[in-house]
Subunit: 225 residues, 2 copies
DNA sequence: CCGTTTCGAAACCATCGGTTCCGGTTTCTA
DNA sequence: TAGAAACCGGAACCGATGGTTTCGAAACGG
């Protein structure tokens, strides 16, 4: 309950996310080779095996079917070890998920904010089409029962992504490419809202959904004036 | 797992929903007084007490904190009785939730489809501002682990509401009040998307969110031409 | 009075998240 | 070389929970 919810670290901007095989370079560096404490050093194997197991299981079984025992077993590690390094099942699953994210540091900002915006949205939606979206949805759903998890997901994924889009929107407004009286945060909700509604009600996220959403948003619903 | 997921009944169009005290008239009528089977008659008290307990607990404790035991205890009823009439905790919670919905059969269709649309959206968002929205969100989230629950929620709440809006949209299009080339289902996602994104990420749903969403959708993001 | 169905209480079972204990191992330091 | 310190795996363990079963008692109709 009141337990801390530590994710080992991660400090990078995530935009397009999708579970991918190659691990990211997000390892801790606790002051490089500081007075190494005595005793047997932690077995990095076990650590990585657990994180890999988390990623694998997230892809293979529905979140509700993953148990602490199955995690440990899959990693070939004892449950005790798991709980020595992570405070909860959610914590390790989330860290595994984060570790597997494809970190695509958003379209490299061309001169045209609208181009960036379009590409950004396309990528975000694209990453959520298919099984990866279902995983993300499960985690978000689980956040309802585990506030720390929700916070981590918001802080590390949702908020950064929203801020990026806000930034692009403001650029576009400044360039006169969008209305000057936009309620920017609301536009962000408009952009990603359909993604959530699809994911949370179990409807499919088509590949081109993001583009269609954005196009419709731009034009508006009123008849051409 | 493979258990049936029966909700006693309910066959009404729900538009604006929010837990309210007065129970709806949704009782079964098994062919009025058909050959009454022998044996002790079921205690309607216990039934209603359980449904009430479900509604009360949904309002008082987070979904994840409601247990089958607490339900039974609150209703002053044995757990065995609960499971005699409902196949799972989720089933009774959902039925209790449905029973408590304020059934407001959508704005009585004026001549102006746009007026109806606006009112419709306003009501839907209004019902989700505040604690009722959190309850709905919890149930949707829980649907991720319980497919039958998701289906029930979609069939009884989400889909009908979407169909209503689709209908209104088509009317507005026919009346020339909206673009004729609209992707209607996508517009529906646009309209309710922000509601989901707010609910699922734990952000507040402001009272006027629906109106703002709709207004922005109508105008579009492009500078006035 | 009997058969049938319900009810409540309590015991019961399996699962799961999480902890604890123990014996054994790997490292550092003295 | 001897601790001390930290790690590991295995297994027992705990408490909570969803769900079931058993049993005796009530409520009905015939």
């Amino acid at each position: 309950m009141g337990k801390p919810f530590l994710i080992r670290n991660l400090r990078f901007r995530i935009i397009c996310h999708s579970l991918n095989p190659e691990p990211t370079q997000a390892a801790i560096t606790v002051t490089p080779e500081q007075t190494r404490s005595p005793g047997r050093p932690r077995c990095e194997n076990a650590h990585q095996a657990l994180l890999n197991a988390a990623q694998d299981l997230l892809r293979e079984v529905p979140l509700s079917g993953i148990t602490s025992a199955s995690l440990a077993k899959r990693a070939g590690v004892s449950k005790a070890t798991l709980y020595r390094w992570w405070p909860s099942k959610e914590a390790i699953l989330l860290e595994g998920y984060f570790e597997g994210l494809k970190v695509t540091c958003g379209a490299p900002e061309t001169e045209d904010a609208m181009v960036d915006l379009r590409e950004h949205i396309r990528q975000a939606y694209h990453a959520m089409a298919g099984p990866d979206g279902v995983i993300f949805a499960s985690l978000i759903a689980d956040g309802h029962a585990h506030p720390e998890m929700r916070k981590a997901l918001n802080d590390e994924l949702n908020s950064p992504r929203c801020e990026d889009v806000e930034h692009l929107l403001k650029r576009a407004v400044a360039a006169g490419q969008l209305r000057s009286d936009l309620d920017v945060p609301l536009v962000v909700d408009q952009i990603f809202g359909p993604l959530f509604s699809r994911l949370m009600t179990g409807q499919p996220v088509e590949e081109d959904l993001g583009e269609r959403v954005f196009e419709m948003l731009l034009q508006g619903l009123l008849p051409t004036r």
